[in-house]
Amino acid sequence: MDAPDQQPRVGVDDWVAQHEDRVDQKTGLAGLRRRLGGYIPPPVQLALFTLLAATLPFWMDRGDLFAYGIFTLLYILLGLGLNVVVGYAGLLDLGYVAFFGIGAYSYALLSSDHYGIHWPALATIPLVMVGTALVGLLLGLTSRRLLGDYLAIVTLFFGQAFVVFVNAVNPIVHGQGLTGGPNGVADIDPLRFFGYELTTRKQQYLLLLGAVVVVLTALHFLSESRTGRAWRALREDPLAAGAMSIPVHRLKLMAFAIGSAIAGLAGCIFATVLTAVSPGNFGLPILITIYAIVILGGIGSLTGVVLGAIVINVSFQFLAPENPQSNARVLFYGVLVLLLLLTVRPRWVGAALVGAVLAFGIATQAIVEALAPSWTGGSIVQGGRLGGVIGDWAVIPSGHGNFGNVAYVALVVAVIVVTRLHGWWQTAALVPTVYLAAIVWETSFVEQPAVARWILFGALLIGLMTVRPQGLLGTPRVEIV
């Protein structure tokens, strides 16, 4: 709990307290983050990011570059666009992913055999961006009458309507569906500039990196400009902003148009990199992923979007079904141990907890082994070195079909119990809970990593929001009553 001197004092609101906080140099991770985020000037941050990112193609193989490099950059681009609408202007746009889809589909239709149109990329991409910006403007028009939640609903339906449209409601043109129905459009041309084709993953990655850097720079200047300040004013209080003669409606439309144009650009690149688009690519999961990226990093922060995209995509690829499960296992246990070490205060309690969990596991394993050997007879899926050790530590039964499900339900209950306890009781209850988490991972999650990642993802969103509603790098709202 908070020490007495950390509690808010009379006459000192959150904002003042935060400033005082920032003045005293913080040690540890929080201080490091502040020093990194606060004291490195943005151009240096950008240069560092670009340099590091540009080395990626030289030491990653083709598949890794695709999964880790290209997808992270795509997520960054999408996050940046959403950040304009949600982060800067504070408009809750739940149909954002439809613009991504419209961009991808437009590019696909204009440069594939579907209609036999093959425009050069230099013409298609600007055209698609203008097109998506116009659609964004149209959707933004509803924000004139609809505020807050209602805007969220209408945009959500817009996004759903897009998916339904390309999937099922397809007017027949030239003897084939306008958008190819559930199968989508395949065999999309690679990007072609001045007769030079970008076909290898390395070329695509570098082009994408260029696009990200350009968008990042433009958005940085935009957010520091008059428009950016006006957006933030609008986000904090639309009524007050209007009273200060800020053109509220025009700014909302601008935010929609710019966000959609960036999504359209991301869509074009997505289509050419994958060489095929289908309705399934633009559903709710991707929308939630983009939101998670923007929120994890901190709403309204460009650095935050980049970090959020890296964290989310890398952990996603680790948990991807085609990835060897030993990788996912390393990530899982690593994060578990890190969480214990970093979040439990004082630090030595965290370290002691890790030790206690290990000891608890060994003891439980020994007891169960003595009582009923069949309950520990199970084997680890795709072990690896870590897996071998875990197999002797965690209780993994063989031939008890429903054990994984029971353990999962028990884990959910245990987590709920832990959050309801306080003080030493909580610390003590953490030990079996963490051990149970390991068992659930080995018996249930490891077989369905794709499902497990969404479960962890949902839990992460809930946990992060309740602990830090403003995200990792975001600034908390200044509430003046």
Binding site: F157, V409, S444, Q448, A452, I455, F457, G458, L461
Partner: protein, 324 residues
């Protein structure tokens, strides 16, 4: 009595019957959205998934008691038990969701609880996917209560009991309608007549004021979540009985439509939610019947956007006046 020509159409009457049944389900879901929104000004995106969990609890009870082919109980107590378990289970789930995902964020910016709601929705959906798998689970109401279940003969639950001018009305459809009407009546009386209902209305009107009058707002909010989730659980079981199959993704679209119903009727208004539910159900039934199944969803969304643009506060909603 001869009906006017347009209404004599067999297809039209059949679609109306289907639409009213579907609309009852949407109305029950919409009531949950509307009550929570009225009291917290929060869009509970996880509500559709509570409904889905309710359907799965009903399935669990059914398969736990021997399955539809050879149930251990007689038909009436079995269905009653399914309803009770699903309603109680969903109700408790709703209370837990409120406690862990929404209460810590009650004074946070509006975006934060919306995001946790998406998180809860994802968590529930994928938990059910993990526990039950991706395949459809069947209630098999076709077999339930049939005289010869081994032959998969239609049972009394599904047997057309009324034939009006060639229109089939199933017993289960009548049951859905009756249960919905009963729940709506009970809910209306509860909110209008009881102490807790009065406290709910007071909290919805002015939370701080209610707190100062000695109302335990936390408890009122928890009971609101309980009631709205109970309704969703009942709707989930009825979906299973009506369409015979439940799956982990069913909550998303149903939630979206229940939500549409709440918004069309005017979010925050209880009679509005019932009206909106009927409207959405009928729209969907007519659009799928006359234009083809794939148009159903799109028409519903289109109607919603139109209603919102013309009447931003819905059909029965009161106009929100913003005070500064």
């Amino acid at each position: 009595v001869e009906l006017p020509l347009a209404f004599n159409d067999q297809l039209f009457i059949q679609l109306t019957v289907n639409g009213v049944t579907l609309g009852s389900l949407y109305a029950l879901i919409a009531l949950g959205y509307t009550m929570v929104y009225g009291i917290l000004k929060l869009l509970n995106f996880a509500h559709g998934d509570v409904y889905m969990v309710g359907a799965f609890i009903g399935y669990g009870v059914l398969s736990g008691l021997g399955g539809p082919l050879s149930p251990d109980l007689a038909l009436a107590p079995l269905i009653l038990l399914m309803f009770l378990a699903a309603m109680l289970g969903s109700g408790l789930l709703g209370v837990a969701i409120e406690r862990f995902a929404y209460r810590p964020l009650r004074d946070a910016p509006r975006l934060a609880p919306l995001i946790t709601a998406l998180g809860v929705s994802f968590f529930l959906q994928n938990s059910v996917l993990l526990l039950f798998g991706a395949q459809f689970r069947t209630y098999n109401s076709f077999v339930l209560g049939s005289p010869t279940p081994e032959l998969f003969e239609p049972g009394p639950l599904i047997d057309p009991v009324f034939k009006i001018r060639g229109v089939n009305i199933q017993l289960i459809q009548l049951m859905v309608l009756l249960v919905t009407v009963a729940l709506c009546v009970v809910l209306t009386l509860f909110v209008a007549r009881t102490r807790v209902g009065k406290a709910m209305r007071a909290t919805a009107y002015d939370r701080e004021g209610a707190m100062m009058m000695g109302i335990d707002v936390d408890r009122v909010i928890a009971s609101t979540f309980f009631i709205s989730s109970v309704l969703a659980g009942a709707a989930g079981v009825m979906f299973g009985l009506l369409f015979s199959q439940v799956f982990h993704f069913m909550g998303f679209l149903a939630g979206l439509k229940g939500f549409t119903a709440a918004v069309v009727g005017g979010i925050g208004s209880i009679p509005g939610a019932m009206l909106g539910g009927l409207l959405v159900g009928l729209t969907e039934a007519y659009a799928s019947g006359y234009l083809g199944g794939r148009w159903g969803d799109l028409t519903v969304f289109g109607v919603l956007i139109l209603v919102l643009l013309v009447r931003p506060s819905g059909l029965l909603g009161s106009k929100a006046i913003q005070k500064v």
